[in-house]
């Protein structure tokens, strides 16, 4: 990418080398070409807003660093709906991690109770379950099942 062009040396940047300031266009004490009042005002408005955004961003992360000090994930499941497939059915589930820690390779199991001791197990593995996030997944079963009759649990995870 770093291919130089001969024209770059001629490029009049906002801040020019001192030697370039001796001739040609007039410059102010900051070493810039004399700018219109509007352009200077725009520069400082953008600079002020940008500084405010950067400080707010840093403040937000600092607040997080000081307050969100939990060291364990908090994983829970909310079954949303059953989606009929040509073969079988999929129970769509929201996986919540309300903890302050991201986990990886999260293995989860859904157990559907069809009554009479008959049950089926579906499993899903998520690459990552970020802290304070929600991921949508689906567990497949061979026949129709009420989402309320399905129980979920975490089989295991690692830390990224």
């Amino acid at each position: 990418m770093a291919v130089k062009t001969s024209s770059q040396a001629n490029r009049p940047a906002h801040a020019l080398p001192a030697k370039d300031q001796e001739g040609g266009k007039p410059h102010n004490k900051d070493g810039n070409e004399t700018q219109s009042f509007e352009e200077k005002r725009l520069e400082w408005i953008v600079a002020t807003l940008s500084a405010a955004v950067t400080l707010a961003l840093a403040g937000f992360i600092l607040y997080e660093a000081l307050t969100k000090t939990g060291e364990a994930p908090d994983i829970s499941f909310v079954a949303s709906k059953a989606v009929a497939m040509t073969q079988g059915v999929v129970i769509e589930v929201e996986v919540h991690n309300d903890g302050h820690v991201t986990v990886a390779d999260v293995e989860m199991e859904a157990r559907a109770d069809f009554g009479g001791g008959e049950e089926e197990i579906g499993t899903v593995t998520l690459n990552y379950l970020p802290a304070e996030s929600i991921s949508e997944i689906g567990f497949g079963f061979s026949r129709e099942v009420d989402p309320q009759q399905v129980s979920f649990r975490v089989l295991g995870y690692t830390y990224p």
Binding site: S7, A15, L49, I61
Partner: protein, 263 residues
């Protein structure tokens, strides 16, 4: 073939080859919502037109010429991407129209950006930037282009999220001043050949606020938009999303600063 077109193809190759050979981009072509892809294609258009006016194929006289140049750049980007993806056997076999369209459309923007900047990268004797009046908005646009280039290269990769997951809030907090310091050093202190220099009278904080901090925020905005359009922030809380943006902001800030030297 006109020399300008060859330069455009060269630029498209240099800018988009890393993304063309990134697995996540092929997958995103199939999984990304159609409206996000459309937003990326349409949203990049005005940015590229402004960029064309600033540093494009050639010295343009009016906006219609810039629109024409950007359309040509999109064409070069699409053709180059389709050719390389076909050469690398990235399309499914048998190839479906939707597979082809989705994968190529996603690569069109980096390809067009590369094609547009190809001229300034490979030199254009007919163009003399010294004749063009540099403006603050123009400087920000050039920085946005640099940030877009580097952020597009890494935003779709899993590593961006993985890094943000591994980092603590303290790491993220430290990354902000380091990004700013590197950015500032890159442009104003390193005195790279052909780069901008400061006059001894310029207070450091003046240049830092006007160019470095403004450029950093431009880079962060570009990062947020790119991550969001590529679906990389989906399901993340605000805190996690901010952290991914700050992580991607690191290379984007360097890209923004470097663009002022390179473009």
């Amino acid at each position: 073939m006109p020399l300008g077109m060859l330069r455009g193809i060269g630029g498209a190759l240099i800018f988009s080859l890393p993304i063309l050979m990134t697995m996540e981009m092929w997958q995103l072509g199939l999984t990304l919502d159609w409206w996000r892809m459309l937003a990326l294609l349409l949203g990049a258009f005005p940015l590229l037109v402004l960029l064309s006016n600033e540093i494009g194929f050639e010295s343009t006289q009016n906006w219609s010429e810039d629109v024409r140049d950007v359309l040509i750049a999109y064409g070069i980007g699409i053709l180059t991407s389709a050719s390389i993806l076909a050469l690398l056997a990235i399309f499914h076999d048998p190839m479906t129209p939707s597979d082809f369209a989705a994968k190529v459309a996603l690569q069109a923007v980096p390809g067009a950006l590369g094609a547009l900047l190809g001229r300034s990268q490979f030199g254009d004797e007919e163009r003399n930037p010294a004749q063009k009046k540099e403006t603050f908005v123009g400087e920000l646009l050039i920085m946005a282009a640099g940030a877009l280039f580097l952020s597009l290269n890494v935003a779709p990769t899993e590593e961006m999220q993985l890094i943000s997951f591994r980092m603590s809030a303290w790491h993220a907090l430290l990354l902000i001043p380091i990004s700013l310091a590197l950015m500032h050093a890159f442009v104003f202190a390193a005195s790279f050949a052909g780069g901008s220099e400061l006059s001894p009278e310029t207070p450091w904080w003046s240049a830092f606020l006007r160019f470095t901090v403004s450029g950093y925020v431009v880079a962060l905005v570009i990062c947020f938009v790119v991550l969001w359009l590529l679906g990389q922030l989906d399901g993340l809380s605000l805190q996690r999303a901010v952290r991914v943006v700050v992580v991607l902001g690191f290379p984007a800030a360097i890209g923004a600063a470097a663009a002022r030297l390179i473009l």
